[in-house]
Amino acid sequence: MTNVKLRDLPVRDMGTLFGLVLIFATFAFVSPIFMESRNLVNILQQSSINACIAIGMTLIIISGGIDLSVGPVAALSAVISASMLAAGVPPWIGMLAGLAVGISCGVVNGVLIAYGGLQPFIVTLGTLSIYRALALIYTGGNPVLNIPSEFRSWFGNSLAGLPMPVIIVCIVSALAWVLLRKTPIGEYLLAVGGNEEAARIAGVPVALTKVTAYAISGGLASLAAMIVVARLGAAEPILGNLWELEAIAAAAIGGASLLGGKGGIVGTLLGAIILGAMRNGLTLLNVQAFYQLLATGLVILLAMLVDRLTRGRA
């Protein structure tokens, strides 16, 4: 019975997949090393952080909201977790502390939005500054070093040729997919984003649903932060700059509607990989940064046009 609501989604996902294949084919044609397995692993690795953030963003966008504060949430949990790690706290406690910070930040966002009745855009715009400021104040602007190698090796290893971050994101995606498609909370997210008042009258716990979405987004932001800290061996308070926009872009390319009520995990993953593959391929072709930016913008607009053309054809 999984095709219950998937019925009209695959059309859109097929479109995204087609775009991805097209981009891969183009790059493979002009750059012979693009399709080498090492490079493909590179693309997945480089897309994994954005994918992790974008999954949380997708859940929020589906619920009709937006989370601009993901980058600073990541930075704050990174520096707090890293300073605990550097002080000799057992790595798993440090990591859980980081995740707890992220989830708490998300809950604060969610409570202000769901119970305070404030607009998501404005709330997370505010907390974007606040969380960033806390991270800078906490560190005095300096990076936190001395990350223990045990912690680094957790995320640095490979399994079956795939880097740990890619595997983590795969697991996270699977869980998010189940959440969205198989649990009441997933239906609630779609319902709240699709028609909040109707959902409320049908007895959906609207506020709780929203808070859950923001908490998940915060948790995933801090998970991404852990991966970055482990990879770089340092936690910087300026980490996560512009993550929110890239995540929104991935979700939008994947078919999520900023009006709410529409979106999916598969599409968002494909969107993140499209963005990663673009950056990778254009660098291999030695295209300058400004033109890469241009290309990224065009891909987003193209995806929106495809969206418009396929709408109602579900």
């Binding site: 560190t139 005095g140 990076p143 680094r152 340092a234 910087e236 030695n286 300058q288 940064a289």
Partner: protein, 362 residues
């Protein structure tokens, strides 16, 4: 705050960290290098000594391709550094490809670019990292692929085998000394910082304040606020500072873009005679302003020259030459008075900088 003390013991704690890392022996770190302190590394050489000590540049093998990863191209400094790479590359007959992150602070984006360039198979990588840490995975991967990596300027990768450039902190030190020597009466000073938390901004500001405090008692830093590398924001900030402190004697700015904004604010306040403005980088517009008698001076780190030196060194590495770990490149505070000495033709500039270095002038 628990973390702030690390500012002062930064290098020290780094040493501890990597001693520890060495013991644990992470598989990816093949060699145990001491963490780099580009200021005090004993295995060093001045840029002008390179050809004196190592001889003429060996002819590059055919097919050598040099990859360069800059910080961002929205800042003239990094474009000029790239020009230096290209200039030296053309002279030596090798291809140079320059890539850059999309914005200042785009750490993961820059890492992705560096990794992608590695898969493309360049012979050597010249990198200017966004932060000490962000390119570390690419450096590890390069080591595995036996591609030499040269760290050019700004942030210092602790395990870098080769570093070319100046010291960010030294930039602030020079500005502070200029105030001490040229404004013996002292007075109120304001600092316009770069983006909060960005490495270069933190280091330059810290060097400036520490030196000013150490070498004179007559100065007081009344404001030290971020201008985010932005002209407009710096203009507004400077206007407010001047209103608050009408007797201010000088501004030190972490880059020239901000300094030019500050100059406009000073002009608008009618205090050009009273207030000194020192910028950083030595971009074209800054010199126009200096020659017009508005901006007092800028700490030029000679990006074109630095780029040429970096490319020269990377080709020597490829030819198998042993180059000291740090190649120091020059910095100089240039004002209207000494402009002609540094900004004449290239040969004259090199001559002047070599003279400076030999006389030990800082």
């Amino acid at each position: 705050m628990q973390i702030t003390k690390w500012t002062h013991v930064r290098r020290h704690s780094l040493a501890m960290a990597f001693a520890l890392l060495g013991c644990v022996s992470l598989s990816s770190f093949a060699q145990t290098l001491k963490p780099l302190d580009s200021d005090r590394e004993p295995d060093r050489i001045e840029w002008w000594q390179v050809s004196e000590k190592l001889g003429a540049l060996p002819k590059a093998k055919p097919g050598v391709k040099v990859g360069a990863v800059a910080k961002t191209l929205t800042n003239e400094y990094w474009r000029l550094l790239g020009d230096g790479y290209k200039k030296a590359g053309d002279k030596a007959g090798v291809t140079v490809d320059l890539q850059a992150a999309q914005s200042e602070g785009d750490q993961l984006g820059q890492l992705a670019i560096a990794e992608n360039m590695l898969s493309k198979g360049y012979s050597v990588l010249l990198v200017s990292p966004q932060s000490d840490a962000n390119l570390q995975p690419a450096v590890d991967a390069a080591a595995k692929a036996k591609v030499p990596v040269v760290n050019v300027n700004d942030a210092v990768i602790p395990l870098a085998e080769h570093y070319i450039g100046n010291v960010q902190r030294d930039n602030g030190v020079r500005a502070a000394r200029w105030f001490v020597q040229n404004k013996p009466a002292g007075g109120k000073i304001a600092v316009i910082e770069g983006m909060a938390g960005v490495y270069a901004a933190v280091q330059r500001t810290e060097g400036f304040k520490a030196t000013l405090g150490k070498e004179s008692t007559k100065f007081k830093v009344v404001a030290s606020v971020p201008g985010n590398w932005d002209r407009q924001l710096s203009y507004d900030t400077a206007t407010n500072i001047l209103q608050q402190n009408p007797d201010l004697v000088g501004f030190y700015c972490n880059n020239d873009t901000m300094a030019l904004g500050v100059v406009e604010a000073v002009k608008a306040a009618g205090k050009l005679a009273q207030v000194t403005v020192i910028g950083t980088d030595g971009i074209g517009d800054a010199y126009k302003s200096i020659l017009a008698g508005e901006l007092t001076g800028t700490i030029d780190s000679f990006p074109v020259l630095t780029g040429e030196v970096a490319l020269d060194v990377s080709l020597r590495l490829l030819a198998g030459q042993k180059v000291p770990r740090v190649v120091a490149t020059p910095q100089a505070l240039i004002t209207k008075q000494n402009y002609s000495r540094y900004k004449g033709d290239e040969a004259a500039q090199r001559k002047a900088l070599i003279e400076d270095a030999k006389s030990g002038a800082k």
